[in-house]
């Protein structure tokens, strides 16, 4: 990292207290309950952290098939290691880091590499219902959905590192910076400044298109 990314308190005063961490304070307890046989606790973990794993996978631009398989592999392995996780409170970081490693493995395997820079991507029909449909259902106003689409398009066209960082950050519920750090192997202290920079870039792109 160059000097330009030295963490600055002014950028982000509360890097450790984002919404997600508050909701995830119980993750350690849930993991311990799941180890003890509590299936509901396991389900709560999956629902709370599944979107984070998905975001990490999507941040790495895999084909849909690879993305689905990596997602499953991560959860199978987590289930397998459940009773052996050294720091149950950091299950989110464990999942994010495992997802990252599996994604990098896919990239290493050139035979499987398939970039999804395809502009048709946004219009693809997924097997779980079309984004178009859910978009139309979710957004009553056509103008609003057009704005969402433009926002997403500008986001997709950001530089790769910015796109990657933001894709992880916008998991829902929002990940903690420790989880983002594990997902992308970047220092916790640099996430705030990079986040600012990337969002600023995105806004500049939107302004250039007259979208804001």
């Amino acid at each position: 990292m160059r000097a330009g990314v030295i963490p600055s308190a002014a950028y982000d005063v509360v890097p450790y207290t984002r919404g997600g961490t508050v909701e995830r304070r119980e993750v350690g307890a849930l993991v311990r309950s799941a180890v003890g046989g509590d299936a509901a606790a396991w389900k709560a973990i999956v629902e709370g952290l599944g979107p984070l794993v998905w975001s990490v996978v999507r941040a790495h631009r895999l084909s849909d098939a690879d993305a689905h398989e990596v997602y499953q592999t991560v959860w199978f392995r987590f289930a397998q290691h459940l009773g052996r996780i050294r720091e149950p409170d950091k299950a989110g970081s464990w999942l994010a880091s495992t997802a990252r490693h599996e994604c990098l493995k896919v990239h290493r395997n050139a035979r499987r590499l398939m970039l999804t820079d395809d502009p048709q991507l946004l219009d693809r029909v997924s097997e779980d219902g079309t984004p178009e449909q859910s978009l139309l259902e979710a957004e009553e106003a056509a103008a609003q959905s057009e704005r969402v689409r433009r926002l997403w398009q500008e986001f997709e066209e950001l530089g790769e590192r910015c796109r990657q960082l933001l894709r992880v950050l916008i998991a829902s519920p929002p990940p903690s910076y420790q989880e983002v750090s594990a997902a992308l192997d970047i220092a916790v202290g640099s996430i705030g400044p990079l986040r600012q920079r990337c969002l600023r870039r995105l806004r500049a792109r939107l302004e250039a298109r007259g979208t804001t």
Partner: protein
């Protein structure tokens, strides 16, 4: 590197006045867009919920100690080289070779064992080793897989991997 330049901002963009720019708002808007345009597929959520069945306290986990995908230098000219994997749990070693034709493996120390090829929480195909500890399957696993090895009273499961 282009990416780094991108991250660090060139051409004096650092002086860009962020003023009242609410990054939290833009991030939240983007989060909502992701929820609409690139959500976690419900089927995958369900698979992860069902994966609780894979939680197995009785089995020892054999860790991946060699993966040709990561640890080996690619063979020049080999279009479709076999994937070589080694798993270890204590004194038990499991060597596995995956090709498009199937799966071959050997348990060490050699001996009779039952090998289940797991593909998820659903029931698995079972193979039996010969006296040398060797086993074969005619079709390679598709997608994530693990091998569960039964030798006498001992149960060893390999770490989950993708083919």
């Amino acid at each position: 590197m282009d990416d780094m330049d991108d991250m660090n901002g060139r051409n004096g963009e650092e002086t860009y006045d962020e003023g009242d720019f609410d990054t939290g708002l833009l991030e939240e808007e983007l989060r909502q867009a992701a929820a609409v345009l690139d959500p976690l597929p419900p089927a995958l959520l369900q698979i992860a919920v069902d994966a609780y069945a894979l939680h197995d306290l009785d089995a020892r986990v054999a860790e991946l100690t060699f993966d040709s995908l990561v640890d080996a230098i690619p063979v020049r000219g080999a279009a479709d080289p076999p994937r070589m994997l080694t798993f270890e749990a204590g004194e038990v070693t499991l060597d596995v070779e995956l090709t498009s034709q199937g799966l071959m493996g050997q348990v060490l120390p050699p001996g009779p064992a039952r090998v289940e090829v797991l593909g998820g929480p659903q029931p698995a195909a079972t193979l039996t080793t010969d006296d040398m500890g060797r086993f074969t399957a005619d079709t390679p696993p598709s997608g994530p897989f693990a091998l569960r090895l039964h030798t006498g009273a001992d149960v060893v499961v390999t770490e989950w991997l993708r083919t």
